[in-house]
């Protein structure tokens, strides 16, 4: 086992464990904090794949900004386990079944996809994820989707300001 593999298994275990803790935690603040740990583990995976830009942007945007806002809302609403409405056992069962079905569909999709079979991830090599190559790809091959998404962001921003002005 190489160092990269050891790191891979460690990060995977960390990601899975904290993802489960997100669901299991009674306290919503704890859930958010575990979710941040998940993001860290995933960023670690990105680094192993030599996609440093993606890793750090994942941290800045998700862990650094979006999760802070989540925490904000949860802290201000002062949610705790007592305030949570009691759900019927059938509701929980229904949730488990539908979630399980979705997972099965996803797994079978990935298993059957032809361009996924017989392929392994490039660990610690490949330089598509480096910022220079990523920038070139975004502004040449994918320039139309990139610009469209920027228009989307702009409209979202305008929408937020319009709502805020009311």
């Amino acid at each position: 086992m190489s160092t990269i593999q050891i790191l891979f298994f460690f990060l995977t275990a960390l990601a899975l464990f904290s993802a489960i803790m997100v669901l299991v935690s009674k306290n919503p603040v704890h859930s958010v904090l575990w979710l941040i740990v998940v993001f860290f583990a995933i960023s670690g995976h990105y680094v192993l794949l030599n996609a440093q830009f993606l890793a750090i942007v994942n941290l800045i945007v998700y862990a650094g900004a979006i999760m802070v806002l989540f925490l904000f809302v949860i802290m201000l609403m002062n949610l705790n386990s007592e305030a949570e409405p009691r759900k019927h056992i059938w509701m929980k069962m229904a949730g488990v079944i539908s979630g399980g079905c979705f997972l099965m569909v996803l797994v079978s999709l990935v298993r059957q996809a032809t361009d996924m079979q017989q392929r392994t991830a490039l660990m610690g090599s490949g330089n598509v994820g480096l910022i220079k190559n990523l920038g070139k790809a975004l502004f040449s091959d994918y320039v139309v989707p990139f610009e469209i998404s920027s228009v989307l962001f702009l409209s979202a921003m305008v929408g937020a300001i319009v709502i805020g002005k009311k």
């Binding site: 190489s2 440093q52 750090i56 941290l59 650094g64 900004a65 904000f72």
Partner: protein, 350 residues
């Protein structure tokens, strides 16, 4: 051992470097608390602490000892785990920044060429942003876990302030990145060092100003120290903290100051560059030592300016802070970015 094929020499070299940098910055932070009191005193026509040791030089140790010996109080209704995690996170986030700062070029020792930078990753600046955005959690978690209304208010203030100013900070940096064409701090510094290359401050005075103001806000320094505004929030987010946990919060602020000074020195003031001196003519080891000294001098000057501002300007009101951040800093940074981009294009002769 083929299982773990690691370059042990590199590992040891990096571990030693990490230890030196971390303990070095902690030591500087220790004396920054002393310098803060001295600077405050001198600016207010008084001598400042001068009893512990010659010129009061042992004062920080006395302060540290006091903090350690004090009774540790964890409020009954607090969330114990997070209450302890908060100051640790604040300190970790503050210290992690030092990983990408190039302290000097390289030294040649034991037949190895040792880079005086813990990690030269090609996303250096983004890494700093990532770590800075983690620093908010120390404040938020600590403030929330204290289970105190004032702490929570201060934590929310701190978080929204940090997020608001991070935007302008990032935008002001983009202009620098357009000039240098790299995200690696080492490359940025080396470009400023090159013969005939001016420091970035010459090209980016406005960008530096915006970055500096945002750095003040990110470090929670006066005039933006709203998370610890005594007159309206008692003591701010660390109100329930005592003993060394409080010390960690206070200390993290000083470590943050050192790190942001180092980043500013690297980005705008040539890092370890000494003006009017061609380092390439010197022996590498001597050049490295001069470089470290130059960077430390720049850091000390920045820290003095931080303190000078603290003891001059009163605290902003919260609405003024937000207005300044969103309505002044961000548009200014955008304009700065546009002008820089236009100038680069015009110079390239498109």
């Amino acid at each position: 051992m083929t299982l773990l094929a690691i370059d042990w020499g590199l590992l040891i070299e990096k571990l030693v470097l990490i230890a030196v940098v971390v303990f070095g910055s902690l030591g500087i932070a220790l004396y920054t608390t002393f310098a803060e009191r001295k600077v405050a005193a001198v600016l207010q026509d008084r001598p400042g602490p001068n009893r512990a040791g010659p010129f009061g030089l042992l004062q920080p140790f006395a302060d540290g000892l006091k903090l350690i010996m004090k009774e540790e109080i964890i409020p009954n209704t607090s969330n114990r785990v997070l209450f302890i995690l908060g100051p640790g996170l604040a300190m970790t986030a503050a210290l992690m920044t030092c990983a990408v700062i190039p302290w000097s070029s390289h030294v040649e020792m034991f037949g190895r060429k040792i880079e005086l930078q813990i990690a030269d990753i090609n996303i250096g600046i983004l890494y700093i942003f990532g770590v800075v955005s983690m620093g908010v959690y120390g404040i938020m978690i600590g403030g929330w876990a204290s289970n105190n209304k004032f702490s929570l208010m201060a934590a929310l203030r701190g978080a929204s302030q940090a997020i608001s100013y991070e935007l302008a900070m990032g935008l002001s940096l983009i202009a620098v990145l357009m000039l240098s064409g790299s995200l690696s701090l080492k490359t940025i510094v080396e470009e400023q060092m090159a013969q005939g290359g001016l420091w970035n401050i010459a090209y980016q005075p406005l960008g530096f100003l915006i970055f500096f103001v945002c750095a003040l806000a990110e470090c929670n320094r006066t005039p933006f120290d709203l998370p610890e505004a005594e007159n309206e929030l008692n003591f701010g987010y660390h109100q329930e903290y005592s003993s060394m946990k409080l010390g960690f919060y206070l200390f993290a602020e000083y470590v943050n100051m050192i790190m942001s000074s180092a980043v500013m020195a690297c980005l705008f003031f040539g890092g370890y560059d000494v003006p009017f001196l061609d380092e390439s003519t010197l022996a590498p080891n001597i050049a490295a030592i001069i470089g470290v000294a130059a960077l430390l001098t720049k850091i000390v000057i920045f820290i003095f300016v931080f303190m000078w501002i603290r003891w001059t300007i009163p605290r902003f009101r919260y609405d003024q802070l937000m207005n300044l951040g969103w309505k002044t800093m961000i548009p200014l940074a955008l304009v700065n970015m546009l002008i820089t981009g236009a100038a680069i294009l015009w110079k390239a002769g498109v």
